[in-house]
């Protein structure tokens, strides 16, 4: 086991000339002329990664304009914070479930993404929209219409094509195709499949040894 290195004893020259303080001050002076790493937020926007768990939405079926939800209740069951409320009735003829209300209480949500992962038809999604702060509670209590319009907002802001958009939680990267329900076997980039998964990167020999003790 390695012992930590205590500081090297300061010599009398270092003590008198304040060498270590001078070094620190040289560093801060150098940084004075370096480029700033912060961002002027409302003007410059961060690029949000695909699959960021942001504002909730219900995917709008491009053909019917309605939600894809089949009221299987899996999202409401799996939700750890119980923030999804669904009511439905059964069509007496076709025996299909028809969603009456679909509500997500965004203030209760903990953004774990379980709902989109268990949804068998990719109906619910956490979009990459992150600016939806509000001054009141009702406006973040999303009902079905609001959730559908959230999806429109997401498409509008991100410019994604609803036909080709695949959220990584709908079809987890590296998941075995066979274990997924039929609707979740979406066409995805090669890298997301089990076969095309990223390989380890061989390191240059010197670097893998040298990093042991760090920079000094």
């Amino acid at each position: 086991m390695a012992q930590v290195t205590r500081f090297k004893q300061r010599g009398w020259i270092g003590t008198i000339l304040l060498l270590e303080i001078a070094k620190g001050m040289a560093l801060t002076l150098k940084k004075l002329f370096s480029r700033s790493v912060t961002r002027q937020y409302p003007v410059e926007r961060p690029s949000i990664a695909l699959g960021f768990r942001g504002q909730h939405a219900l995917v709008r079926n491009p053909d019917t304009g309605e939600s894809l939800c089949v009221a299987c209740m899996r999202c409401a069951t799996v939700c750890p914070s119980k923030c999804i409320h669904i009511t439905y009735h059964q069509d007496p003829e076709t025996r299909k479930r028809i969603v009456d209300t679909y509500e997500i209480e965004a203030l209760r949500c903990i953004y774990c993404g379980y709902c989109e992962e268990v949804c068998p038809v990719n109906a619910v999604v956490l979009t990459e929209v992150y600016e939806y702060a509000s001054y009141d509670r009702p406006s973040v209590y999303y009902d079905k219409d609001r959730l559908l319009s959230n999806w429109d907002r997401f498409l509008g802001e991100s410019g994604r094509d609803p036909k080709t958009y695949v959220n990584p939680f709908w079809r987890p990267r590296g998941a075995d195709e066979r274990t997924l329900p039929a609707k979740k076997r979406l066409p995805v980039p090669e890298e997301w499949t089990l076969e095309g998964q990223a390989k380890g990167i061989p390191l240059p020999v010197a670097a893998s040894h040298g990093s042991h003790g760090g920079a000094h």
Binding site: I21, L29, K31, Q40
Partner: protein, 322 residues
């Protein structure tokens, strides 16, 4: 009508200094911001240039909260004492040859006296706030100011001995006649002690114990808000400007520079003052903070003996040369 002209000069000096102080806050935020690889104020005006004005407006219109249980008269008086004492020091500071409100021959002593009075504001604020953090801040401040006042006074004795005067204009002119053109080199020990004591005297990092936020929340002005808080800030920055000016006048050769700049008689002095203010910020961006007892130890066991040694050396050299 000498009275009216003096009044106009006073108003002009105060106005100019307060403007500098306002932009010193901006300068500080920009310098420290860039040293910390961020940008500092950017939103108010181009590159945040109007930030000090926005700050002023905000502080001026903020609600003035006076906590229950404070000693009201003292609570009200404390920030005013601080600021008035700081601003009074300006009277004896020459900003160029002849540009001084009161060219008194004990200028240096007068400035010391005033900066000591300024610390009364801090101590009283700590006492009157009826808050434990403020109280501790006030206690620390009184101890700190007393110990560093001595070191600072002693560090300037060498300068006085070399120049043979306490008048700041005379000191500057004496430096012109000196071999090095400034006292920072022959009085290097005194200069070092002065710079450290200067940081402590104005409660700046690494000696910002009276207001160190991570221990005492905000120290002596924890309970102050709005414009009373602004007065304390003003007093602190005016103190910084004055200390920087004294450093420039007593050690860096005042308004004399390597060459003359036409039309701006105090060009070099301004450059030197700005450098010293920059130095304050630079130190603040780099160093951690001392502990209370370590600060005392440094003051009494290191700085005061160093300053005394400087006096002895200066005396011997001066006797030897003459």
């Amino acid at each position: 009508m000498e009275f009216v002209t003096t009044l106009i000069i006073i108003l002009a000096v105060v106005a100019v200094v307060l403007l500098h102080v306002a932009y010193a806050t901006y300068f500080e935020r920009k310098v420290i911001g860039h040293m910390q690889v961020r940008m500092g104020p950017m939103r108010v005006g181009p590159h945040g240039l109007l930030q000090p004005i926005a700050d002023f407006v905000k502080l001026f219109f903020k609600e003035d909260v006076v906590p229950a249980g404070v000693d009201r008269p003292v609570f009200y008086a404390a920030p005013i004492i601080s600021l008035v004492a700081s601003l009074s020091s300006l009277a004896a500071v020459p900003f160029a040859r002849g540009l001084v409100i009161a060219d008194i021959n004990i200028g240096l002593l007068y400035i010391f006296a005033m900066s000591s009075v300024a610390s009364y504001g801090v101590v009283l604020a700590g006492w009157a706030s009826n808050s434990k953090y403020a109280f501790l801040g006030g206690l620390r401040s009184s101890a700190q100011v007393i110990s560093y006042e001595i070191a600072m006074g002693l560090s300037l004795v060498g300068v006085m001995m070399s120049a043979g005067s306490l008048n700041l204009t005379d000191i500057v002119e004496a430096q012109k006649a000196d071999f090095f053109g400034c006292y920072a080199i022959p009085q290097i020990l005194g200069f070092f002690v002065f710079v450290v004591a200067m940081l402590a005297e104005t409660n700046r990092t690494p000696f910002d114990l009276p207001e160190c936020e991570s221990e005492l929340v905000a120290g002596y002005f924890t309970e102050y808000s709005g414009f009373r808080f602004a007065l304390f800030m003003l007093a602190e920055y005016v103190g910084m400007v004055i200390m920087s000016t004294i450093a420039a006048l007593c050690f860096l050769g005042g308004w004399h520079g390597p060459f003359d700049v036409p039309y701006i008689p105090n060009f070099w002095l301004l450059i030197k003052i700005y450098f010293m203010i920059f130095f304050y910020f630079w130190i603040r961006a780099t160093l951690p903070r001392y502990r209370y007892d370590q600060l005392m130890r440094l003051g009494w066991k290191v700085l005061i003996p160093l300053a005394l040694a400087n006096i002895v050396v200066t005396g011997i050299v001066k006797t030897f040369i003459s």
